[in-house]
């Protein structure tokens, strides 16, 4: 017999029907863009809400950013990865507005995750590009990362050098750029996340995520939005005892931008 339990009887880790504890954070509106073929928009919106902010769904074909304070380009396979990952999404009407807002005086924070990172490189907001993983495998695993830059709009909550674990899942995840672009990224400390415990896909300089010169635009291949709830996120304990981290290492990415925007 099916039982209908109330919310009190099934305590959710994050009860989204309740107002966020910090109303200042709840006032921050973070847009999450859906392209045709986007998969992780709901997860990204949920991560924003669990962090205490307000998620605003944005549709790729619209031309209005609806007054959001920040934008997330989530993961998935926009336009089926046809041509190159992110190559067609880059020309979506909303992308022009996002590029303008990211480049304007205020420097709106923009986060590209996985396919969103690929869109940001195709849109020239971030340098380099992604090609197929070194061993041509679609990788899906819990991945260790080292936070190399805790000064961006999306990483202020982390400590420099902190190691975190979040899921990684992609086929075109090998970050490449020419020597000059790589040297520039390193010299300007614009590598934000580096793979820790082994390079999974052949990315140059073990790069998992980078930022622009102003630190408002960040792109990374792994998925912090999949590691925001205790018991459901990534963890390196594997089949052994459940680790202490409980898989919420990604949450601080989203809390960081809320705090950045309420400073």
């Amino acid at each position: 017999m099916a039982q209908h339990l109330t919310a009190e009887q099934t305590p959710l880790v994050a009860d989204l029907s309740q107002p966020a504890p910090d109303s200042r954070l709840a006032d921050v509106r973070v847009g999450v863009v859906t392209f045709p073929g986007t998969l992780d928009d709901r997860d990204a919106a949920r991560a924003v809400e669990i962090a205490g902010g307000t998620a605003v769904p944005l549709w790729y074909a619209d031309t209005d950013l609806q007054g959001v304070d920040a934008v997330i380009l989530p993961g998935g396979f926009s336009y089926g990865d046809y041509l190159r990952a992110g190559a067609i999404a880059r020309f979506a009407p909303l992308m022009d507005r996002i590029v303008d807002a990211a480049s304007a005086d205020g420097g709106m924070p923009v986060l590209g995750i996985c396919n969103g990172f690929q869109v940001l490189t195709e849109a020239h907001l971030l340098p380099g590009s992604m090609i197929k993983n070194e061993r041509l495998k679609f990788l899906c695993r819990d991945q260790g990362l080292r936070v190399e830059n805790a000064d961006t709009a999306w990483t202020g909550r982390f400590a420099q050098g902190q190691e975190i674990v979040v899921p990684l899942k992609n086929q075109d995840g090998q970050y490449v750029a020419d020597r000059r672009a790589l040297d520039e990224l390193e010299a300007e400390h614009r590598v934000v996340f580096r793979y820790a415990g082994g390079n999974p896909n052949g990315s140059r300089n073990d790069i998992a995520g980078i930022t622009n010169a102003r630190g408002n635009v960040v792109g990374l291949m792994p998925h912090p939005e999949h590691a925001v709830e205790p018991g459901f996120g990534a963890d390196l304990s594997g089949s052994g005892a459940v680790g202490m981290r409980e898989g919420t290492d990604g949450l601080d990415v989203f809390v960081s931008v809320l705090e950045h925007l309420t400073r």
């Binding site: 490189t121 195709e122 090609i131 993983n133 070194e134 061993r135 490449v176 020419d178």
Partner: protein
């Protein structure tokens, strides 16, 4: 009706994991002469009328702006196909 061909190849300095996988497979089917394989893409753009210089210029623009990513790829050919009779 005319057709314009655009060929795009991965830059020489960029590793081509797909080409490498193909190169590894060839000896297994008994074709052992090849030391390297690189995989690119070919596009065929069709226009009404002839492949004028203006149309070719547009094809070159398409090749640079959309069909290739200059960070990882080179446009190695933009040319009109000979007309079929």
């Amino acid at each position: 009706m005319a057709r314009i061909v655009v060929d795009v190849m991965p830059k020489p300095e960029i590793l081509d994991p797909q080409g490498k996988a193909i190169a590894n497979e060839l000896p297994r089917i008994g074709l052992s002469s090849f030391t390297e394989v690189r995989q690119g893409r070919r596009f065929e753009l069709t226009v009404d009328g002839e492949a004028t210089e203006q149309v070719l210029a547009q094809a070159r623009e398409a090749a640079e702006k959309l069909l290739s990513n200059p960070v990882i790829e080179d446009v190695v050919n933009v040319s009109a196909l000979p007309e079929e009779h």
